[in-house]
């Protein structure tokens, strides 16, 4: 047993103490969280200088533009400055009121071309064109409300369909300009307030009251009683989403660990065989000890990586107050399945490494072993849709796919019956022992075999006849 530890320790050290590993361990989460980090950084670096927008008001008497102008001034004075720090939190808008061209199609379009050119030349970031009928929408609204329950009016003449809706306002810009998006959101609220509700000079509170109204119907989980007998509603959507995220995350992590661990294990066994290092080692240890030592080393690496990632995730999740969605029992199941998956696949991969004598040979033999690792990834969609369906239950009871699939079902709090839990647990333990036995027999013969890689049939013979 001590010799297994000596090999495991060396294997672990050889993997962990490389630069590639250290870079990898930090790089992987960075890549995963990269988009978040980038968006935070770019937000900080965002341009806060004032942005100029052109307004073309085609309403009779051009009454909307001045109202917007007043609203912008108010916004610039109050909302764009962080009250605590006094720093500018979003850019100032500056409106340039452009007199509208003639109302015929050609004139309208030529004005749009002209303004678009000014956007391209960076004079303005965009332009808002207020449709001639924009201000009449209250009437339209009333008409719509009045029309409920009445027969639909006959369709207007076909030509009208092609025409632009005169009530429509258009904001035209280059979509990559972040300031323009801010303005679009702001103008959407303002123009709605003005044109649909006839409200000008609306304070923030009222605005909120209008736009932040709760939807009249919410979706919730089931009602249960807690220990004190109080009725409690499941959080429904939110919880399901969080559970799904946790399940998928753990599944991905396990997939990664198996891939990250198994492939180098195969390579290291094969390399040592090619360089005849294994012959020296076999002068001191039995083939099975050598294989187990390598497996233990890999388990060590996988556990280290998992602990780092899981701890990082737990910290982040608790920080944002979602800690309750990663229950301890689920974490323990994760570790249990992870160790078994690593042993299961690791022993098969190291056996393949031992059976080959050339870096190219393992490809063909790896395919049947890779299938059950990839299968859960392909079935994820199906399992999520129906975690208690026949497919989900079958693959979670099929030992090679049990670790990932059962974990996903457990995370989603699917209806895993007690007998399923027992059978799958016994199944995966038995299957892991079987894999180690098979791997050990192939390893023992393969590690000293030189020349062409064995066929699948030969491997079976090695296993059966020893």
């Amino acid at each position: 047993m001590r010799k297994i530890w000596v090999i495991a320790f060396r294997e672990f050290n050889a993997t962990v103490r490389t630069k590639a590993f250290l870079v990898g361990i930090f790089l992987m989460p960075v890549l995963m969280c990269g988009s978040v980090v980038v968006s935070i950084i770019t937000e900080k670096l965002e341009d806060r200088s004032s942005q100029k927008i052109a307004i073309v008001d085609r309403t009779p008497g051009a009454k909307i533009a001045p109202i917007l102008q007043t609203a912008v001034e108010k916004r610039n004075a109050q909302d764009t400055v962080n009250k605590k720090t006094g720093e500018r939190s979003s850019p100032e808008f500056k409106l340039e009121i452009v007199p509208p061209s003639g109302s015929d199609q050609a004139a309208v379009e030529s004005q749009r071309v002209e303004l678009s050119k000014r956007v391209k030349d960076h004079e303005i970031i965009g332009f808002l064109e207020i449709g001639p009928d924009a201000n009449n929408q209250r009437a339209t609204l009333t008409a719509i409300l009045g029309a409920i329950g009445k027969p639909k009016p006959a369709a207007p003449d076909e030509q009208a369909d092609d025409r632009e809706d005169p009530a429509l306002c258009r904001f035209q810009t280059v979509p990559t300009n972040a300031g323009a998006i801010d303005f679009y959101r702001w103008s959407l609220i303002q123009v709605t307030l003005i044109t649909r509700f006839g409200l000008t000079n609306v304070d923030e509170k009222t605005q909120k009251a209008i736009f932040d109204q709760k939807p009249p119907v919410v979706m919730l989980g089931l009602t249960t009683l807690d220990e004190k007998g109080n009725a409690i509603d499941d959080e429904g959507n939110l919880k399901t989403a969080a559970q799904l995220a946790v399940g998928l995350g753990m599944m991905m992590l396990m997939f990664m660990m198996v891939m990250v661990g198994s492939t180098p294990l195969l390579q290291s066994v094969l390399e040592e065989k090619m360089q005849k290092i294994s012959e020296v080692l076999l002068g001191s240890v039995q083939p099975f000890q050598l294989m187990m030592g390598k497996l233990m080393g890999m388990i060590g690496v996988a556990l280290l990586l998992s602990v780092v990632y899981v701890a990082g995730t737990l910290f982040a999740v608790n920080y944002y107050g979602f800690g309750e969605y990663i229950p301890l029992t689920l974490l323990l199941w994760f570790l249990f399945y992870l160790v078994l998956a690593v042993i299961m696949y690791g022993s098969l991969f190291s056996a393949i490494g031992a059976a080959c004598s050339d870096m190219k040979e393992p490809q063909a033999l790896m395919l049947p072993v890779m299938m059950p690792i990839i299968l859960p990834m392909m079935l994820v969609g199906l399992i999520i849709k129906n975690p208690d369906g026949i497919v989900a239950r079958a693959v979670s009871l099929f030992p090679p796919t049990t670790p990932m699939m059962m974990l996903l079902r457990q995370a989603m709090e699917a209806n895993v019956r007690p007998w399923e839990q027992v059978v799958s647990t016994i199944g995966i333990i038995a299957f892991t022992v079987f894999c180690v036995w098979v791997g050990g027999r192939i390893f023992r013969i393969g590690i000293l075999m030189q020349g062409k890689a064995p066929s699948f049939k030969q491997l079976v013979q090695w296993v059966v006849h020893g």
Binding site: R2, K3, V6, I7, R10, A14, Q275, K276, I277, E279, V280, L281, L282, G283, S284, V285, Q286, P287, Q289, L448
Partner: protein, 314 residues
């Protein structure tokens, strides 16, 4: 007690019979040399003793036990192909091997050996930075650091310069004096002659020689004559025509004659005197080198049936 006993051992790889019915006894405390041409079964025999591979038939008894696995902590092994973890430091890799042999806290012992073979300054260097000779010495240390009772060395001297060769030879002799049984294979007949108590030759899987150097030479009798005729006047062709001479070789200043068994060497001297003025005439036993070549050279084997002695096929 015997360190190693092989009893009627057979081993085949696919359809090649690597070792045929081999019986061999290595007494404890001796130095046993394995010789034989490439691919004749030396390494296979060593690996079977090491229990890295198992014989198809027969018994392999090492240090009195015939059923333990490869992991025998009392046996040290230096395989023919030298390789070790290149990315590890010299001392780390040696400690690793020592620990695999069951040693605890082996660093003091490792340092002692590094000092002994002049590698102490390299202990913190990675193996990949060492020269070939140094790497070979590191590997040698890895096989002896655990103070094995039996040491198997597969061609320990090949590819070494004279200085390193001498260093390893000295270490092997010292281990022998401390009581370690040593088995090594070699292609260098001089080394085998001077170092080994017993010599074993295997050829195409068969044992063809086994015994002390003297007993082997006695089998072949005194059938070599080294002559020098003044002025190099006599050619090899003429010598071969002398009655009783089965072969003649030109060594430059000397000619070497091989005579058939039971021939009167005086008669040959007589005939030589007739051919020219003889300045050197020496009757000797064949060297290990000569015996090796006679056995392993197929043309010699075919022309002279007596070259392979009766041991074959035993």
């Amino acid at each position: 007690m015997n360190a190693v006993e092989l009893i009627e051992v057979k081993k085949a790889f696919s359809n090649v019979q690597a070792v045929k019915n081999l019986t061999l006894t290595v007494p404890e405390g001796c130095v046993y040399g394995f010789i034989g041409p490439n691919g004749s079964g030396k390494s296979t025999t060593l690996r079977m003793i090491m229990r890295i591979i198992y014989p198809d038939e027969g018994i392999v008894r090492v240090l009195g036990a015939d059923t333990f696995g490869a992991a025998n902590d009392l046996v040290g092994y230096l395989p023919e192909e030298r390789s070790t973890y290149k990315k590890m430091k010299v001392r780390e890799v040696l400690c690793f091997h020592a620990e695999l042999k069951g040693l605890r806290r082996p660093s003091a012992l490792v340092d002692e050996w590094l000092e002994r073979l002049g590698l102490i300054d390299w202990r913190e260097k990675k193996v990949e930075t060492l020269s070939k000779g140094m790497a070979q010495k590191v590997q040698f240390i890895s096989s002896v650091v655990s103070k094995p009772k039996l040491l198997l060395l597969d061609e320990p001297f090949s590819g070494l310069d004279p200085v390193n060769n001498e260093a390893i030879r000295k270490a092997v002799i010292e281990l022998h004096q401390e009581g370690t049984t040593i088995i090594f294979s070699t292609h260098d007949m001089r080394t085998a002659e001077v170092m080994c108590d017993y010599i074993f030759m295997i050829y195409r899987g068969d044992k063809v020689l086994d015994g002390t150097l003297e007993s082997i030479q006695n089998q072949y009798g005194t059938d070599m004559i080294r002559v020098r005729v003044e002025g190099n006047a006599v050619g090899v062709g003429e010598l071969q025509r002398i009655r009783g001479v089965s072969d003649a070789k030109d060594l430059g200043h000397f000619k070497e004659l091989r005579v058939a068994g039971g021939v009167d060497t005086q008669a040959i001297l007589h005939r030589l005197c007739e051919l020219g003025r003889v300045v050197h005439f020496e009757v000797s036993r064949p060297s290990l080198h000569d015996i090796f070549v006679r056995i392993a050279n197929p043309t010699a084997e075919e022309s002279d049936e007596t070259a392979v002695p009766a041991l074959q096929g035993e």
